[in-house]
Every structure is written in structure tokens, then in C-alpha cells.
């Protein structure tokens, strides 16, 4: 894997390989000494044009646990109105010896441009671009679902079982609820979860569902209670930004109260889910808007675990990209025998 720009880049074998590698990485994180020597001598740059402490820390932790050197570059304020800054900044970082650039950017396609415009020749990992993609979030979501649910919807027992290694998410039904229109998380998840065999249903008010969604490989509904009544195996709540309410044209929804009433996940709705169902959220949560405190803190909630899994998944991605491990798609040339071994 040379870059990770979009969940669409991952075919099924590659996606499963990433998840299996993440499972191995997660196992090492249970040890007393968490640090691995795998990426010693490699330099990873976190290039963040948008504030996201959570994602940045997750990547930074992942890189450091693999013994890579990390440079954090917060280009906050370098807005899209200064187009040249992305190119210049990237070239500066390459000159500083970056082997991989982890980029978060408000403009959709910025990681794609970085990887394909000839500006730099480092590997590029998309840590969220505009309203386009957030592939490592989808990977950690898939990883989390696979740990908890076997194909068909049976809850796995704790963390003791096989954790689904080697398999996909075949037949699992996932509902993703909220602001579909502005969500990069949902675009990555629809692609990755369906690649892994899950059935995805998107739920949100019609104003927050994009024109063109009909071409996505999923179902769409405006009726949360109707979808919950079908007993989804996992329910993923998306963050709704309060400022969407005041946006031009009268807002995307009338009030937080009405949103919570129609599309919020609360104790009442959670009680109707099948026993094995899990509740997810990519964070940060708006408690009291898209999810109530009761729902967020319920035993079904795997939200805190998603954060921990994020580190393991990002370790796996950094490893597969930087160690030159052959993956399901066009395989890079290099890849030492023990690197391959570690991936298996």
C-alpha cells in the first residue's frame, strides 16, 4: 500500500489484511512494553490544516508505538483561500525527510492532490478531507464491529474469542444516523463496510442526505424508529454540528429539540434494539443532541473502545504503508520476510 486516500482504495483482501494486522497490533498493546521497533528511522509528519486533537493524537501515538519519529505540523489558519500553502507546506515537510504525511484538510481531495500532483513523493495517509473521506475512521469502525459481532449478528464473547480475524462483516446490518451530507465518516464507512459484506442503511433528515446518494451501495431512510425496528446489529451515530441549524436557507433542521426527538438516540430507542446490538459514535459527541448520555454510556456503547481501536488500526496502516508490505492491491516491491511474517 503506497497511500491510503479513500476507503474505495481497499479491496476486500486488503481491508481484511489491515484489520488482521490491527488485531496483532492491538495484542501488542496489551503488553507491558507497548513499543515496537518496526518503523525505527522512519519519519511520519502529521499535517493538520484542521483542528482535530483526537485524530492527531491517535496517529501520533500509533507512530510512536512503532518507533517512528513524529513531526506535528499544525497549519491552522492556512485556510483553503490560500491554495498555495498546501503545496508549499508539503514540499517543506518532504525536505525535512518525511516518509509519510498524515494529512487532515478542510478541502475535499487535498490528500488526493498531495499524492498525485507531483508536489511530493512521500506516502500520503488521509486523516480526513472536507466532506470526502476518513478511511482510518472507517477501518477502526469495521475493526470494532468485527471484534464484537460475528457474521449473522451474534455477539462475540468478550475479547477472548477469535475476534473475527481473517473474516469480514458478512450479513451484518449497520445503521448510520445523522448528518450524512457533511460526513466524510459516512462516505468511508459505506464503501468499507459494504466491501466487507455488511448491509448499510443511512438515516437522517432529508436536508442532510446528499443528492446523488442513490448511487451509493446502501439503503437510505428518513425514519429512525422504522430502521431501529428492523433490529440493526450496529447503530452508528454521527456528530451533528449545531451551527448546521443556523445555516442559510432556514437551517438544515428546525431546532435541536426536534432533531433529538426525530433522530437522537436515547434510552427509549436503545431499549428497542436487539440484545446483541452495539452503539457507536466517531466522536466527539454532542450529548443531548444526536445521542443522550444514557445511550452513550450504556453497556451497548463501544464508543470508548473505538478510540483505543483507532490506535491499533492506525499502527496497522502506518506499518503497511511504511514497511512496504505487499497488500491485496498492486503490491509494492520491497517487504522483508519478517515484515510479512508480522502481518500474518
Amino acid at each position: 500500500m503506497r497511500h491510503l486516500l479513500s476507503a474505495a482504495d481497499l479491496d476486500r483482501p486488503t481491508a481484511i489484511q489491515v484489520l488482521d494486522t490491527a488485531a496483532q497490533m492491538a495484542a501488542t498493546q496489551a503488553r507491558e512494553i507497548k513499543k515496537l521497533p518496526t518503523l525505527r528511522g522512519k519519519t511520519v509528519v502529521n499535517l493538520f490544516f484542521e483542528d482535530s486533537t483526537r485524530t492527531r493524537i491517535s496517529f501520533e501515538t500509533a507512530a510512536k508505538r512503532l518507533s517512528a519519529d513524529v513531526i506535528n505540523f499544525a497549519a491552522k489558519g492556512s485556510s483553503v483561500s490560500k491554495g498555495e500553502s498546501l503545496k508549499d507546506t508539503a514540499q517543506t515537510l518532504q525536505a525535512m525527510g518525511a516518509d509519510a504525511v498524515v494529512i487532515r484538510h478542510p478541502a475535499s481531495g487535498a490528500p488526493h492532490s498531495l499524492a498525485h500532483c507531483g508536489w511530493v513523493d512521500t506516502s500520503v495517509i488521509n486523516a480526513g478531507d472536507g466532506t470526502h473521506q476518513h478511511p482510518t475512521q472507517a477501518l477502526l469502525d469495521a475493526f470494532t464491529i468485527r471484534r464484537h459481532l460475528s457474521p449473522g449478528g451474534v455477539r462475540r464473547v468478550g475479547a477472548d474469542g477469535d475476534q473475527g480475524v481473517g473474516g469480514g462483516l458478512d450479513g451484518l446490518r449497520v445503521a448510520i444516523v445523522g448528518d450524512i451530507l457533511h460526513s466524510r465518516v459516512v462516505r468511508s464507512n459505506v464503501q468499507l463496510l459494504t466491501t466487507l459484506g455488511a448491509e448499510v442503511t443511512l438515516v437522517g433528515p432529508p436536508t442532510l442526505v446528499p443528492i446523488g446518494v442513490e448511487a451509493w451501495p446502501c439503503q437510505t431512510s428518513y425514519d429512525l424508529d422504522g430502521v431501529l425496528a428492523t433490529g440493526p446489529d450496529a447503530v452508528m451515530m454521527l456528530r451533528v454540528q449545531r451551527e448546521r441549524m443556523g445555516a442559510g436557507g432556514g437551517g438544515f433542521f428546525p431546532s435541536p429539540a426536534e432533531y433529538m426527538h426525530l433522530y437522537g438516540l436515547d434510552a427509549r430507542r436503545i431499549a428497542r434494539l436487539p440484545e446483541h446490538s452495539i452503539v457507536m459514535h466517531p466522536g466527539p459527541m454532542n450529548r443531548g443532541l444526536e445521542i443522550s448520555a444514557d445511550a452513550a454510556d450504556s453497556p451497548r456503547s463501544v464508543i470508548v473502545e473505538q478510540v483505543a481501536n483507532g490506535v491499533a488500526v492506525r499502527m496497522a496502516v502506518l506499518y503497511l504503508v511504511l514497511a512496504g508490505v505487499p497488500t491485496g492491491d498492486a503490491a509494492p516491491a520491497a517487504g522483508s520476510a519478517d515484515a510479512k511474517g508480522a502481518a500474518r
Binding site: 483553503v80 491554495g83 470526502h132 462516505r187 443528492i211 451509493w216
Partner: protein, 438 residues
Amino acid sequence: MSYLLRAVSPLGGAPTDLLLAKGVIAAVGAEATAAAGERGVTVVDGSGLVALPGLVDLHTHLREPGREDAETIESGTRAAALGGFTAVHAMANTTPVADTAGVVEQVWRLGRAAGWADVFPVGAVSVGLAGEQLAELGAMASSAARVRVFSDDGRCVHDPVLMRRALEYVKAFDGVVAQHAQEPRLTAGAQMHEGIVSAEVGLQGWPAVAEEAIIARDVLLVAHVRSRLHVQHVSTAGAVEIIRWAKSRGINVTAEATPHHLLLTDELARTYDPVYKVNPPLRTQEDVDAVRDGLADGTIDIVATDHAPHPREDKDCEWAAAAFGMTGLETALSIVQQVMVDTGRMTWADLARVMSVTPARIGRLEQHGRPLAVGEPANVTLVDGAARWTVDPDRLATGSRNTPFGGRELPGRVVATFLRGKPTVLDGAPAREAGMHA
């Protein structure tokens, strides 16, 4: 100096000879042939070449004054000549805006001085393109530049009252309001056509309805006030349908399509290459087909380039930060040949109609878009329709490199362009003395 064009095919018809002398077509056929060997007559072998009336572009951004880093009147009109044009209409969105007699006369004079093609300035509809106060349309109309086309292009005249007033006001001097149809509230922040591709690539959508709603309003307005409306860069199937309906009702509306909307689709946005970022945006294949149909059946009257040069820094960046616009003067004829002529949907005479005769008529130009007949102005373009060439952005004459056709092989090569009997292009290259023709 006179030029004898030997064995050219006027509008693709039977080969004949044309003699260009003293700025006019002095003779056609045997009478022209007889001039061979006379002193001061240069013979141009035109066998296999199609002769067209010099092309007329109703929609060009020459960027001068104000953005000479992107294009100058000199570089833009040289590109126009190489593309077979003898006249271009320079849009008003310069700095300063062409909203006074002083600015339009300056642009007109710079065009005369450059000498590569006649430059007809378009006047702004509103002061500073701000959409609030009518600009001095009458003063621009009666200036040396004789402005007849008015447009806030780049922006839509979205206030219905201002649009009504402009349509009424230009009746006094037979002007036309050329509308950039874009409902601004529906397109705030828009980056590309709203549809399947925008949903996937996460770029904010520019819905077709934002174009169609304005066109629908404007054809009703122009019917009401009995004026003249021109719709710029029609890009959607719905827009074609509305214009077809308006024409069937006898409403006085004309419309243009750009070469890029005749060929390219929104699928190209998947590359995130800002060279494909344009306003209105590239639409779907269904829209492209409808625009071609509209051009073929006359619903769309003309092809106009919307040549919009931008310096490299405005395109070598992420999509959302990039400027809207593509160059087009040097590729327009080839695209129309490929899409309409080589497919059998139009003849060369049709091409002359949509790229010369009708745009000249809409702009009320008397010396362009004329028949290739004795006594007519010697504005002539010779095209080798059998030639093929590959577009190299670095080798185009325009001051900018933002062509969306780079690397494409296209049919049709402009071999020569004559402006009032003098060559601006010969053997496919700029004719050096053109600059001294003013």
C-alpha cells in the same frame, strides 16, 4: 498586398479561388484565378482547406486591464487568431470593471493596437458587477467601442427588478443582455455539478435548477418587456428544454454553448484536478447530449468559448481553493468539428453559422460573420479538417495553461486567418506583421 486563396472550399463546398484585396473579397472563382501572377498577389495553396468566415466569439475573458498575469489583450487576441477568430467580445469582469465608456474605449483601443482580432468590449450591466445599480449602458453604447452586448458575466443579474430594467433599457440602442444564469443562494460555496459524483467526492453541489430557474424567469421577463436576451453557457438538459419552449413561443432569446460543455462531464471532478473546475460546472453525459441536441436543432444558437485564463498558482492547488475557468480560444473549432461535424450532426456551413454568422448578428457586428462573397469584408479562416493535432498546454499562445484538453488529440487545424484581408495567421503560425495592422 493581396492574397489569392487557391482551391479553397467555402463552407466545405466545391473548391474555388478567393481573391482578398483592399480589405474585401475582391473576386471569387475564375475572376479571382485570373489574378494569379499579378504583382503584389501572394498565392496561398488552399487545396483541401475549408474556408469559413472569420470566427466570432461572443464570450471571451481577456483579463486586461487588471489581470495581465493571466492574459493580455495582445496574448488573448493572438490566441484568438490562431483559433480562427477575427472578432472576440471581451467580458466586463476586469479591474477596473468595464462599466463606463472610458474603460470600454480603453479595451477597444488596446484591441485595435494589438491587431490580431477585432475586440468588442462587453459592458457591465451593473456598476462594479455589484448587481445593484445600472451601469451607464447608454454611454457605453454610444462610445467609440459601440457596445451592444451587456453582461455581468461571472455573476448573475439575479435581482429580477434590475434584470427587467436592463432588458428594457438596452432596447433604446438595440442592445442585448447576456445572462450568466446562476441563482446565487442555491450555489453559495458550490464547487461542481450536484449529483452522483459530487455526493461521492464530497464537493459542494451546484444544482442544475440554479441555472434553469434563472433562465425560466428571464425568458418570461424578456417576453414581457419585448427586449433581447442572450443566455450564456447553457449547460443543463433542463435549460435547453426551457429555451426550446421559449423559442416555440416566439420569445426573443438566443443561447450559447461552450466547447467544454459539449464534450466534458462531471466525472472528471473525480481527479480533483482544478483544470476541470469551471462555472457553470461540467454536467452529466445526459446534459452534454442535450446541449449537443440543442445546438444541432438550433435551440442553442451559437458556440462561445468562455475562454477564461488563470495563472498557474490559481490552478495548481486543491480543488476548493482553485479559480473557476478554462481556456478555449485555440481549441474551440476543433472541439466543435469533433463533436458536431465529424459526427455528421452539422455541416461546415452549420459550423460557420454557430461560430461566426449568428454570434456576429447577436453582437450586431456589421463587418463579421458575412458571406464569402464579392464585396464582403475579407475576414476569412482556412481550416484543414483532415489534420489532427495534440493539445500541449505549454505550446498554446494564450497567457495561461489551464486548458482542460491537454494531451487530447483533436481534429482540425487552423491554417490561416485573415482580418480585413491581412493574415493574422499563416501556415498555422502567427503572421508577424499582424501587430502593425492597426
